[in-house]
Every structure is written in structure tokens, then in C-alpha cells.
Amino acid sequence: MTYPSSSPKVRIEFVALLAACALFLSTVEYLIPKPVPFMRIGLANLPLIIGLGLLTKREYILLALLKVLGQGLITGTIFSYIILFSIAGTFASTLLMYIVYRFFKQWVSLIGVSIAGAMASNVAQLTLSQYLLFGAAAKLIAPPFLVVGLISSIILGVFAQQFEQNSAWYRSLREGSL
């Protein structure tokens, strides 16, 4: 089931709203102190997880694109190598999360979807870092990177699940009363 409104204009605005939420959450995350320098919870991915139950495939890809471009513009990294990592990570996780949610949602919770997305994102970014930054040494940073990714994706998955269960906004959207 997707977001009930069939008006293309309303639906596209809804995608822009979710993309804006991703930007907002990335600024919120910036304010949260990190126990490890490169550890991120990935709050900005929350709209991507929530969007799984609301958007069509095309709208979902558009949301991922807007998230990457918006973050690149806000942080000023849109014309730097960082955007390549952002594109690789976001699109790898978007693709895998969509597949997992679409075909295995009876067996996989949002926590599982979040873990799948984080692993896809981390593997894509590690592969890219092998070519752009670290060369063969990329395999040395892989274990801590993947462990941190696993922990943060579980936290995000729990958060997404809580949101889906308790949000009046989400419920209204699914019922078509908003």
C-alpha cells in the first residue's frame, strides 16, 4: 500500500516533504555527540525507511536523489568526492531496502530492513574508498566500519519501528485522513 492520494502534484510535494525531513534530521544528528568520531546513527535515512510503505518505486528513487543533492548543497560537498560516497551509499541502501521490503516484508521487520540498507551502504562506500582513498588498506577499516554500521542501523531500525507504530501522522497518512 502506498500513500493514498492519487494526485501527482500532492504526491510529488509529499516526496519533497520527506526529503526536507531527511535534511532536518541530518542537522539534528549533527548536534548529537558521537561516542566514536565516524559513528553516525543515520537519522537522515529515517524518511527513506518510512517512505518504503508510502511511496512508489519512482518516488522512492526520487526521494533518495533529493536527499543526496539536498545534503550536498547544505554541507557544500556537492562538487567534491564526498558526494560520490553519499551517492554510492544512499543508492545501494535504497535499492536493497526496497527489495527487502517489497519481497520479504512478511519475514523482515523494519530493523532488518535498516540493517540490510546499512550493510549495502557500507559495502558500497568501502569499495569506493578502496579506489579513491585507501587502496588495499580499505580492508583494514572494513571490520570496525561494518560493526559500527550494524549497531547504528539496529538503533535506527528500532527508532523507525517505534515511529511507525506510534505516529499519528503516519497512521493518518495510511488511512487517507490527512
Partner: protein
């Protein structure tokens, strides 16, 4: 011509001068120049992420020994060539990052439908941050986010066309064009000086 486009063009024309720089000193000077440029246009410079990048990329290159051996830690040889190669790559990435920061200081507009969508995204972003300030309490976080989204949805019924107002385009002055041309010339001069081995070779 808009200021945003001038900076964008200047940045794009500078890219090869940074990417193809062979001199270590040359790339350090180019990196410093674009850092100053970005900071003088309001971007923040944080030393720690840059140091982490410099340290991690240089260390990673040490795994493949290259050039003069400086010393060794057990069986692990620390070579000058590998260190310089890693550091040069790190400075290239830092220079590209701050060039990108400078290029977006005047908030470039994307053309077409995608551009309109990005404008709409930023319109909603501004509304979200405005509404978020009025939300109390902000704990629990999920409840606060939910409240914010409900407020946004209730108040967000204006038609699409009235929501996104085109920003008044800032037209670039001749002085601005001149300044950017000067930056371009300086960065290309550093490239030429570096590639002609006029800077000391490390």
C-alpha cells in the same frame, strides 16, 4: 550573469588544475588557497576532520612501501615515497572539498523540474525548522517529530505554485567576475609552477 553561476564556472574551470597537480608543494598551496577562499565566503573550517583525512590516507599508503625508507616499526617499513603520495592525495581531496564549499556559497539553482523540486525541498526544510522551534517539549523525540509533521501537514495546503517563490537572482558585477578570474589565474599558475618543477621537489 548570476554570482552563483560565476562561482560555479570558476570552480569547474579550476578542477583540472587541482586534479592534475603533480607537485606536493603545489597541491598544499592550492589547498590553502581554496580553504582561505571558502572561509572568506562564510564557510567553516574545522581542522580535525582534515587532519583525520590526512593521517588516515597517508597511513593507508604506507602499506605499499615506496621510495626511501625513513625508519621501520618491527618489520613495517615507513617510506618517504608512500607518505608523500598519501599526503598528496589527501591534500587533493581537501582542496576539492573546499573548492566545492566555495562553489555553493551563492546557492546555485538547478534548472528544470529537478531544480523546482529542490527548491520545494528547501521550502519545506525552512518550514520544518520554523515549526520545530515552537514545539515543546522536545522529549520524547518521536512524539515531537510526530507533532511537527502533523502541524506541517495541516498548515501545508497552499497550492504548489505559491509555495516556491523564485529567489531574486543576484546579478554578478564586473568586479565579482574579475575577482573570480583572478582566483582562477592564481590556481592555474600554482598548477603550472608545480608541474614545471619550479617548487622544491619533495
Amino acid at each position: 550573469m548570476k554570482t552563483a553561476n560565476i562561482r560555479l564556472a570558476m570552480g569547474l574551470l579550476t578542477l583540472p588544475a587541482i586534479l592534475l597537480q603533480k607537485s606536493f608543494i603545489g597541491i598544499i598551496l592550492q589547498a590553502l588557497y581554496v580553504i582561505v577562499l571558502a572561509v572568506s565566503h562564510g564557510r567553516r573550517f574545522r581542522i580535525l576532520p582534515n587532519l583525520i583525512l590526512l593521517f588516515s590516507v597517508s597511513s593507508a599508503h604506507l602499506l605499499q612501501p615506496h621510495g626511501l625508507q625513513l625508519f621501520s616499526i618491527g618489520n613495517f617499513a615507513i617510506t618517504a615515497g608512500a607518505l608523500v603520495l598519501g599526503a598528496r592525495k589527501a591534500f587533493t581531496l581537501i582542496a576539492l572539498l573546499y573548492l566545492s564549499h566555495y562553489m555553493v556559497t551563492a546557492r546555485p539553482n538547478f534548472p528544470g523540474k529537478l531544480g523546482k523540486l529542490i527548491s520545494l525541498q528547501f521550502y519545506y526544510f525552512e518550514r520544518i525548522t520554523t515549526i520545530w522551534r515552537t514545539i515543546t517539549p522536545k522529549r520524547p523525540f518521536i512524539k515531537a517529530i510526530d507533532n511537527m509533521l502533523l502541524q506541517l501537514s495541516v498548515g501545508g495546503k497552499e497550492p504548489f505554485s505559491t509555495q516556491v517563490k523564485e529567489k531574486a537572482s543576484v546579478t554578478s558585477s564586473a568586479r565579482n567576475i574579475g575577482k573570480n578570474t583572478l582566483h582562477l589565474i592564481i590556481l592555474w599558475t600554482l598548477f603550472v609552477l608545480g608541474n614545471l618543477a619550479i617548487f622544491p621537489v619533495i
